[in-house]
Amino acid sequence: MLLIILAVVFVLSFAVGRYPVPAGDVLKILLSRVIPVHKAWADIEATVIIQIRLPRILAALLVGSSLAIAGASFQGLFRNPLVSPDILGVSSGASVGAALSILLNETRVVMQVLAFGFGIVAVGLTYLVSKKVRGNPTLSLILAGVAMGSLFSSFLSLIKYVADPLNQLPAITYWLMGSLASVSMDNLMVASIPMLGGIVVLLLIRWRLNVLAMGEEEAMTLGLDTNLLRGVIVVCCTVVTAASVCIAGTISWVGLVIPHIGRMLVGPNHKVLLPVTVLLGATYLLFIDDLVRTVYIVEIPIGILTSIIGAPFFLYLLNKGQWGWA
């Protein structure tokens, strides 16, 4: 069912935009890449579909899936439904990296490398600091993450403060609001390696999240190497989130709300929940990006729309049923 919805949105996404292409032609153009199809479309249509829309649509799918599965995994790991993928500081770190490269007038490639690198460094620091804290390792990780996030946010403010207000500051601000507009096939290919890798590993170990959600000590008495498992989850979530941020900027709300909607649909069992959040996240971000491209002449930053649509929808769902923690 979810797959069908995703497929429909996927095809329609190619059709909509400043240069509309009939959905039938979209299917034919896409199929023509795999099997021979009688050519009955203009070359420009094929160019739009393959060169421009395909990378952007694939990016929306990947980023949506990544943020959603990272959110669901972190919520299970931290036994807390208010956790989002940037809880350990990855987004703040990546933002500092991106803002720094704008400040230094670096190229887009450098910016993506810096964003990814700073995101990883921020979480690495969070992890090292939390190791020094005695007591509940999960709790110290969250606390260290909140502190690290706040530290990197202040670095970001500092960079914004010293940035040239005419060119650099708007560029930073615009980047922070998130966009899939400038994704090319090349940088998507590079970013998709960590994203797909992280998603696959998380899907492989997903049932263990049920055990971990019983609590640290109980999971240990049930035979889990909790330190190892926590490490694997943190690394995977960090890598997929950092890769998402470096090609799309900071997109809030997807990682927080999609896991909740998933739990409302299929319950909290991570074995089912994680694949469902992947599909939901992909569909949701693709749908939002379609709106971004079509609603107004100028593109609205995607980070704004994910919240404007997501938050009221989530509140509506909360009101509709008695879900408690689900």
Binding site: R79, A219, T221, G324
Partner: protein, 278 residues
Amino acid sequence: MLSVKDASFFYDRARRSGFGGLDFDLKPGEVLCILGPNGCGKTTLLKCLVGLLKVEGGRISLNGREVSQMGRRDLAKVIGYVPQLHIPAFPFSVLDAVLVGRAPHLNMLESPGKEDEEVADTALRAMGIEALRDRPYTQLSGGEIQLVLFARVLAQQPALLLLDEPTSHLDFGNQIRTLHLIQELSSTGLPIVMTSHFPDHAFLASSKVAIMKDNRFLAVGTPEEVITVENMERIYGIKVSIVDVDGPAGRRICVPMRGGDGAGPDRHALWERLANVG
């Protein structure tokens, strides 16, 4: 068989919090009930037995293998542990919560298959809660959650069962039902170590009692040998009466006496002032 020799563990250098010099054995089918005041080291001992903490001195071995030498997964295959209080984070179905007990029998990338589900279903039937199978376990009563935790630990198929205050959060009926359950489980040959705050529960469910105070065992033996008026006053500082009752109950009981421990007239005056009597 569980064998504990001169085991010790302390959280602090001053050796105030923890336990030391413990010796005991447990044979198949025996139930050891550990009694002692708050903070005497009961839970710490259970955590060492299940391998959450490693003993500093002495040794704990189960069926000839030393617990501190065993990996986490090997431990979980043979030792089942029911914590004092389970705090649910997500409303898992009862079946999913019980299936978690199969974790030690699965490797990192596996998830429970048909056989594991059969074991979980058997555990649910063994606890008489198969009707709750698909309910969210967060919506159950305290007594039912306890049964889910028991089903989970049975699905683990352990050779030793550790229960940390299994009756603490239950009403009177569920306390006694839990004790009966413990007794019946042990009659299948499963050795059980439990902690409790109720000496009378030791009469009801255990074959062996250890009383613990100031980080050591004061006495280990049968309930009749160990639960005496003197010992209860030594560990709890209150007066109890221990009598054999006739009638349908027909057993030895341990009951507290009426009356306070003498707060003195000064404190009574303070109470009256605070209560604004008259």
